[in-house]
């Protein structure tokens, strides 16, 4: 019996010493390490991870965690107060702003990169160009056969993202301008759409440009990137033609939402400034996306002046 008491006492001692140690260690950690939690857009995931990695190399004390899950997921987490920054490939919705305000959160919106959202088909599909209206009709389910847009006599298989995705919402609101066909297959990410279109001769999908261009500017094999025109009278532009980016109808800003007004020289502020710097925009380019325009920069600077 005595042994049991002895063990119990020993156990208590060990546990309490452990607790003391623990609190001392975590105390130090909080002092030195700059934790930033980022979550959201899958389109932005690779790009922001690259930026975070580059930033951590210069600032070894910074600990930035970047996770995906979709823009809707990121914004919801921001509203629920779980994260510091939400990546989003679509602007925040009125409804979400209202929900945020109810919880005392006033998101700050910055444009950190641009995306040329790309419509892709299988490489064996003879179609090479479409108008925005045709893309819309295809995704609404009004055009169901490739021959209606000048292709083979084959049923069209639609691939899109989940409703948590900002790309899903952007494409629905800006291009489809109506409900997606209920027959659309909802895929878990950009890469899943690409893989499906590679295997499916009749497939069509949409992905962020960072997923079809590698570091050298070559696009991945097995797929074909469709040239898009605003309407029948406009020129058809490929997202890969850098000089014509301003004419590409599916160009869109990529955002980061901060949960609150950042404090000058706080870790979040410094990381944001890094992303918007020349160095940061070089990473954007390397990740396959497009650097922000002069107008975007002006928009950001006006916001930064208020801090």
């Amino acid at each position: 019996m005595r042994y049991i008491y002895l063990i119990a006492v020993l156990f208590l001692v060990v546990v309490s010493v452990g607790c003391i140690n623990q609190s001392r260690i975590t105390g130090e950690v909080i002092k030195n390490i700059e934790d930033i939690e980022i979550k959201g857009s899958d389109t932005l995931l690779q790009l922001v991870s690259n930026s975070a990695e580059a930033y951590s190399e210069v600032n070894p004390t910074a600990r930035i965690s970047v996770t995906g899950g979709g823009s809707g997921g990121g914004i919801a987490a921001l509203i629920n107060g779980e994260i510091d920054i939400a990546d989003a490939s679509r602007p925040i919705k009125e409804k979400e702003l209202k929900q945020a305000e109810e919880r005392g959160i006033k998101p700050w919106e910055f444009i950190i990169a641009r995306d040329m959202l790309s419509v892709t088909v299988n490489e064996n599909n003879p179609i090479s160009k479409l108008t925005v209206e045709q893309v819309s009709s295809i995704y609404k389910g009004e055009i169901t056969n490739w021959k209606e847009v000048g292709g083979k006599d084959q049923k069209i298989t639609l691939y899109g993202r989940q409703s948590t995705s900002g790309t899903y919402v952007f494409f629905m609101e800006e291009i489809v301008k109506g409900d997606y066909s209920a027959k659309m297959r909802n895929m878990e990410g950009n890469q899943a759409i690409l893989d499906a279109v590679k295997q499916d001769q009749t497939g069509i999908g949409y992905v962020g440009i960072g997923y079809i261009v590698d570091e050298k500017g070559n696009h991945v094999s097995g797929i074909k990137i469709i040239k898009i025109a605003k309407d029948e009278d406009s020129v058809y532009v490929s997202p890969l033609e850098e000089s014509k980016h301003s004419e590409y109808p599916l160009s869109r800003p990529l955002f980061q939402y901060l949960a609150k007004k950042p404090v000058k020289d706080s870790p979040i502020y410094n990381f944001l400034i890094f992303e918007l710097s020349n160095e940061g925009q070089q990473i954007v380019k390397k990740s396959g996306f497009v650097p922000i325009t002069a107008d975007d920069m002006k928009y950001n600077e006006e916001l930064l002046d208020k801090i």
């Binding site: 979709g70 809707g72 919801a76 298989t157 409703s163 209920a182 909802n186 499916d200």
Partner: protein
Amino acid sequence: MPNYRNIKEKLIELLLSTASITALLILIGIFVFLFITGIRTFTEISPTEFFLGNEWNPTAYGEPKWGILSLVIGTIIVTFGSLVIAIPLGIASAVYLSEIAKPKIRETIKPVIEMIAGIPSVVLGLIGILFLSPLIAKIFGLSSGLNAFTSSIIVGVMVLPTIISISEDVLTSLPNEFRESSLALGATKWQMIRMTLLPAALSGIVAAIMLGLGRAVGETMGVLMVAGNSRAMPISFFDPIRPMTANIAIEIKEVVKGSLHYEALFAIGLVLFVMTFVVNFISDIIIEKQVRKYKW
């Protein structure tokens, strides 16, 4: 120290009863939470729209739609499909393992089968999306292999170890007198299996199937990856489906706590819970009846 022993007895009794009461409380707590959150949905969505509407689209361009019928049908299709694959295969292997296989073979095969149960469903989903679905598309001449058929196969594989190992345990535990008397009456081995052993083990086999069914209904990750997740009402086995579990897993990421969409997802969870509850309840009744019939 008789006094001390008494105290020890009491303490252990107390400990054991607390453990079982905790389990009960957790279950009740989950149900109450699910019920309270889910039931609020019906203050804004009418039950008819919820249960009988065949379009689910909370993030629609226009009016959101809240009908879960196509999701329920998706779950039923994949459950049915996986059982059609797993029941014959499972029972046949259980019979082989317990009655026909030599002990040495059984000792090798059984652990292997049980290891299938240990494969994480994400891994099976990956195999499904990268290997199985292109194969199925090729074999059946489909444009895409992400459909109910492929998910049925994936879930069927997941359910298989449950059905095999429980059925095999039940068959092995049948008293040897059953086998001896059948053979003594001049029955062949096949007749003995078909007419004596299988009927006697039926209750256990039904229990195994029901457990498998519960797993199939609740399976999420593997299904989500290969089902295609379209919102359209599935008509054939080669249509993409969006089972309830996949729908919850996909959409829970984007909902704000306390919103209608959040509550509606809990309502779907409640429906799922009730479905598995009914399955378990029915299997309990069946087992009860069988036990009374074959008391040995």
